[in-house]
Subunit: 496 residues, 2 copies
């Protein structure tokens, strides 16, 4: 299991084009008309499904062997076996001879040292074309505005408790994003502010006027301006939710075991995420853990105590409360507090805390160390029927970096890595490796980014020595799956 | 009404002393033994009351005339009348001849231009001595550790819908803080880590051992270290909650109308809040508005739909949805989204949104423009019985600035102001006024901070011209109550 979600999604929006309402989606069958699955136990938002032109495929996942690697690695059956070998832990990259990844992106990965049967990381790198729907705004589109949109997409998925969720997300998440963007093709290409309201599908009669339902009027005569950018953010947020719902629906028929954390970068009409720029380090994502999300978790447990059963308390204590301490006063924190205070121990404080442990050992309901991700619909508290999913969020944190606001050089890169990298490597060490490796290659040598990705993976894996994988400083390397994308932000890729 | 809460609380913690369990509090009668009031509708945390040595006074508020000004202004009856005159709007400061405020703090205020009958701002500036309780840790204290603690305290309270809540908070909040700190006197003066658990009051027998109540064990063998600082933060958080509960209990018998926002600074054993340091501006607080707290409000409405009645929806729309738009698709955001997306309008989307409007006009339930503060226990939606209090939080955001980490000069000041100041003055303009006024006085002239507070108030009020109070640039000045503290962080005050 991994203890981090690093979720950075970024994009850029500009102007000019046109599309149609609710066509059939080629890769996400049963679009439009399929009824959205009811969220069973999780308190998530139904309206997001209802209205967002949801693509809700029912048969997109073929049953398949649980072990696969990204197609861009072009692994032969023999290569696949070598990639699956915990003893050798050979670093895998796309072949030199093959088609380069978009933007000359570098990629490398290595399997774990035995913590799970297969590599539970997955990766995806695609250029995705979004064809617009027929005029959503109701205005017949001009022929010149007929083009769709392209976005570049990189995704890392770090699975836990099985590889199924990561595998499914790596195949389908970008398609959900495409589906959500279809309605926006025309709108994003039009420099005028987005329409606040779209007409009904032509032919649908207006409903009668229920004006008696109007609430208090008063302060609200004006209307908000909604930016193009926030429409793309909303599309990405809904795509994550729909991906998660698809996993819920299909988990029984198919092998969608466990869950996964996702780290995704989207380049659309101009913005993107970054980490090393002129030696400067810009973190574009943060971890979602039981510690960083403590107050969100506690608030939910407080407002919906039925989610805690009779086994857990929403209060946090600095250590396990012992029955003999009943009546004494112990430090605690509730959902409103950032500080600590003493409270008299009562009977229900002896329940296990919703959030416990520190750092890598922090857990929700003594079970899971990540608090955002896709999947985990069947996850229960150990030896209990209490579901954990209601406390997990499938929503990403979206950050936008405007690529056009800065002149990038060939050494400016965005590094995406799974926990296997970040557990043993600091941002500064990554920056130093970036500098060391890239300066050893000509700026126009396309292979430099792959070499960098390999160096990062090797640096986190270490070499076998003294009964373990060890780093040069003799500390233990990462025994986890390690996957790294290196995305160049300036040359040599031309992004047109 | 004001649209901001600026809540910065700061303090500093070091080492050495000793106190007793639950004595009677002189200024907060009925301490210890008084049962905490049940929070009626608001989903707030009961345990905070139960265990934190709560001071829950029942008769602390005498009925009094609703108009009063801070005692440190030493206003005569005639002065009080002049301070209450909307036409003249004379700036009030403590008299030169009186006792200086701690640290030579400057203060100035002016009444509003007619928006409410009286000045609804209140202020408090005190040095508060905290006597410890008899040994809370159970260990008999050494005689050398017998001293209590002192803290310096500055508070601004910006009332709305009446002055009662602000008046009450200005008289009592620091006493609640003192009460919460009593248990900590011994602990804060001891350099070793705080005890995680305090023994029962001597004489109380241990309860029997209910070990069958133990939940899942597993990951949680260690214990957290809790810092002294986080204990002070917890004490302040609980003090705010207890102040709010006291207002709830006493609102009927006494004149506690409306609510108030609070901005508080605490200096305790070494840390404090700041804004201008060597020309550099460091904001120490932020606003809590329906816009900045949208997702918190929407989540509560989503999880507890009964709080919305049949009148409101937790979804946000960029403008009022019209009945004739039923079936069309409108932009919306839910509690999980930072971006916007389109959804098909359904019948319940015609309800009024929980959060609506923009900027100064943003409102919760079409009623109130602030989302954190004290009081407002009787506030209902216009022409409805729906209470708004459940959506308001009484919890402060606490930031800590360590005064000892920086050598401060006499021109380094912390500026606290109510909305009357910040609505018409930017941080940069405040910094320019700080520079201009302080440089006109000798560094050791104690009156310079009062002169600065007066300049800031005058600069925000403007002068009467063209049927209004106008600034030099002819824009309208603030018609609100304006109150300003200027706290010097370096000389001439010696803080010992």
């Amino acid at each position: 299991m991994l203890n981090r979600v690093r979720s950075a999604v970024a994009h850029l929006v500009s102007s000019g084009g046109a599309p149609p309402p609710r066509p059939k989606s080629p890769d996400l069958p049963n679009a439009a008309s399929a009824p959205p699955a009811a969220a069973p136990e999780a308190p998530r938002s139904p309206p997001a499904k209802a209205g967002s032109g949801s693509a809700t495929p029912a048969k997109a996942v073929e049953a398949r062997a649980s072990f696969s690697r990204p197609t861009f690695l072009q692994l032969s059956p023999g290569g696949l076996r070598r990639a699956d070998d915990h003893a050798g832990r050979a670093v895998q990259s796309p072949p030199d001879t093959g088609r380069r990844l978009p933007w000359s992106t570098g990629y490398a990965e290595v399997i774990n040292a035995g913590k799970s049967r297969h590599n539970e990381d997955q990766a995806c790198c695609e250029v995705v074309y979004v064809e617009g729907r027929r005029s959503v705004t109701g205005v017949p589109r001009e022929p010149s505005r007929g083009q769709g949109l392209c976005f570049y997409y990189w995704g890392l998925f770090d699975g836990h408790a099985g590889g199924g969720a990561a595998e499914m997300a790596s195949r389908l998440l970008h398609r959900h994003i495409r589906e959500q963007l279809k309605d926006l093709v025309e709108i994003l290409q039009d420099p005028s502010p987005p329409p606040l309201c779209l007409p009904t599908t032509p032919g649908t009669p207006d409903s009668s006027d229920p004006s008696h339902l109007l609430g208090p009027q008063s302060c609200w005569s004006s209307q908000k301006e909604v930016s193009h950018e926030s429409l793309v953010v909303g599309a990405v947020e809904n795509a994550f939710q729909l991906m998660d719902e698809q996993m819920a629906r299909e988990r029984r028929g198919h092998q969608v075991e466990g869950g996964c954390c996702a780290l995704v970068v989207i380049y659309l009409l101009g913005k993107v995420a970054i980490i090393v720029r002129n030696g400067e380090i810009i973190p574009m994502s943060r971890e979602f853990t039981p510690e960083t999300e403590r107050q969100r978790l506690q608030l939910l447990g407080f407002l919906k105590p039925e989610l805690l059963g009779s086994e857990f308390t929403h209060l946090e204590f600095p250590r396990r409360v012992l029955p003999k301490e009943l009546g004494q006063r112990m430090l605690y924190r509730d959902q409103n507090m950032t500080g600590w205070a003493y409270k008299k121990i009562e009977l229900e404080d002896l329940r296990f805390p919703l959030v416990c442990g520190e750092g890598k050992k922090a857990r929700v309901m003594a079970t899971i160390g990540v608090t955002r991700g896709l999947g985990d619909h069947s996850l229960k508290v150990c030896s209990s029927t209490l579901p954990i999913k209601p406390f997990l969020s499938c929503f990403p944190e979206v950050r936008v970096y405007d690529l056009t606001q800065y002149e990038h050089c060939p050494d400016d890169v965005l590094v995406l890595g799974t926990d296997g990298l970040w557990d043993v490597t600091t941002d500064c060490e990554v920056a130093a490796t970036v500098d060391r490796v890239l300066s050893a290659y000509e700026p126009n040598d396309h292979s430099r980014y792959t070499a960098l990705a390999q160096a990062l993976v090797l640096g986190a894996r270490g070499t076998p020595r003294d009964r373990g994988w060890r780093l040069p400083n003799n500390k233990l390397g990462s025994g986890d799956d390690i996957s790294v994308f290196v995305i160049p932000l300036g040359g040599p890729g031309s992004y047109s």
